[in-house]
Symmetry: C2
Subunit: 366 residues, 2 copies
């Protein structure tokens, strides 16, 4: 029995987008679709803000390899055959119209204001797969419309490839009652917390994290807690909590005044924070605790910040850039359901996106 | 848009089977199918070794409640309207023929020799959901045919409702390479190991575990390690390892001679094992370790037995009846992907079965 093919349009060609294409090429070259997939998502277009490569009959591996071979910041598509000026909403509309049957739209950008385009796609019967958190952290109404369509998958928005979203969805599908979700959801901040535990000065750990590529180009994007707050908001909304970003209580790891500095000035003055964090870490240590940057969704409140946890408990035993999510429910009440492991990185994030794409394709393919 | 209904036939009405029906009734009464399910599995028959209740148009909640109300060991269906003599292979064939379209066969029995019937169901286009491990631990060939059909789900066979099987399947679908799977997969043996850690004598812990309902009626079924060995074999076979039960190296927690005793004699003489296990626990403690009953699928070998692990590592921090599975892969290499939580119990097992049923129904329903 030939597998139904489902057309896929990929938006975004940064680190995750490239890793995703690498995984698709690897799967095809090892005949994984025929052996395992039960439905065949077929990449027909790859687009970013500056270009588009598309073939309605599907991009052959050679084309996908070309996409990866093209170097250049922000656009791997510049100069490829098939390039058209893109980036507008209208462009997406035309793209979706190119295929006769609904397919899957994969958003691995970090673009804002994608909600309307994604909702249009869903209304036309398309599936949507997101690594991009922003479409789910704008208005609650947009979240409800996207999620409620049943055509959305977004595993990679929290914990990258870890089965967090799918597990929560399944608990709710099987009539369990989720009482709290707690977790460490930032690889960057996890790295810093482990360093503080090991008595490394804050500013030194920060420079190390940057050198290892764990942070955003401006590390204040991580230190602000905003990325963790977005993840926490998505988890809270899964529980039908009608919250907006403003409702998430966030403790940033740098004082407000430092948000106004240039990046260079901030990095130069980061050592001013060393004493504060060394003291907090020592205080925690004296009680057998360690510091962790924790997201807590509990009792109607969505709180993100530095917290002391027992060194011997699971969250305390977490090291380095790993993530952990602990879900307490009516059935998992004595101890929570726990998912842990690498929760950031381009390959595991891409795997989360590919798994979602398969899951949607299987439901669309019968 | 009306959801497609998928007929479901449930085999087995023990603790898990009853919990499953309770969850279906709860879901229907809270309109969860309309709000969340995207496909509607509709129970049309419930059968056990002695009886069958079926309505081709679907069993209404009142009928499902009647099934639960009927008391009696081993058969909740005896004496119900619609009862017919059942239990034979032929019976299953007739049952599958009652509906015009393929449905889902749910096996929550502990029956042996179900493979042929399940394969017949799959060949007729039916989906199969298992909590029953035995159909997957007979011949490797039967496993490959069932699993290879793409119509099998068996989350509840390892770790009950924890996302273990689905996570492994998704890692393989997304072209990751699994290098090892290790875990504590028995609530009963986890309870005993934690008791040994707390310096409770082995025989006392065993009596406590029995009193709390954690063990099989004859606790040697748990102590033999056979149940864990079955789970380990299923995990190994997911990795395409061509192994049979005989290939699993199992360390039983009672000496061979004790397997021949009556249950009463065994319980009376269990205290003869106290010194052995107190010594092993003390030995572990002296090295900062604890004892855990570990299943290890690694380097081509599938090994199940008592092992010392660091008290501070994740497996060592596990307490009581909880399960943990650690999956090491090419992508999750520095630290494994971990799933942990209650891995036994009728409600979480039933939730695993219901989640699988939904997953299959969604793929069959479009």
């Amino acid at each position: 029995m030939a597998m139904r093919e489902i057309p896929v349009v990929q938006l975004g060609l940064g680190g995750v987008g490239r890793a995703l294409i690498e995984q698709v090429i690897a799967a095809e070259s090892m005949s994984v679709p025929a052996r395992r997939w039960r439905a065949h998502p077929r990449w027909i277009a790859v687009a970013d803000s500056r270009g588009l490569l598309s073939r309605p009959e599907g991009l052959p591996p050679s084309d996908l390899r070309n996409v990866l071979d093209v170097k250049g910041q922000g656009s791997g598509l510049d100069g490829l055959d098939g390039f058209v000026a893109g980036g507008s909403d209208d462009f997406l509309g035309r793209l979706l119209h190119r295929t006769d049957e609904p397919g899957i739209l994969v958003d691995v950008t970090a673009a804002q204001s994608m909600e309307d385009s994604l909702l249009k796609a869903v209304e036309r019967g398309w599936g949507v797969v997101l690594a991009n958190k922003r479409p789910l952290t704008s208005s609650y109404e947009a979240f409800v419309r996207l999620k409620g369509s049943g055509m959305l998958r977004h595993e990679a928005t929290v914990g990258a490839g870890l089965p967090v979203i799918s597990t929560i969805d399944s608990l709710l599908d099987t009539v369990d009652t989720i009482t709290s979700i707690e977790g460490c959801l930032s690889g960057t901040l996890g790295y810093l917390c482990t360093a503080l535990e090991d008595e490394v000065p804050f500013s030194l750990a920060l420079h190390e994290a940057m050198a290892k590529g764990y942070t955003e180009p401006d590390p204040r994007e991580d230190l602000s807690g905003l990325d963790v707050a977005r993840k926490a908001l998505i988890l809270a909304r899964l529980l039908d909590w009608n919250l907006e970003m403003n409702d998430v209580q966030v403790e940033p790891l740098h004082p407000p005044a430092m948000a106004e500095m240039t990046r260079e000035d901030f990095m130069d003055s980061a050592s001013a924070l060393d004493d504060t964090y060394a003291r907090r870490a020592a205080e925690a240590r004296s009680k057998g605790n360690v510091l962790r940057y924790v997201a807590s969704i509990r009792d109607g409140a969505c709180i993100v910040g530095l917290r002391e946890v027992l060194a011997t408990e699971l969250t305390g035993s977490l090291r380095g850039t790993d993530s952990i999510v602990a879900i307490q429910t009516a059935r998992y009440s004595r101890s929570p359901l726990i998912v842990a492991g690498a929760g950031a990185g381009r390959e595991v994030t891409a795997a989360g996106v590919l798994g979602d794409t398969l899951s949607l394709a299987r439901e669309m393919a019968v």
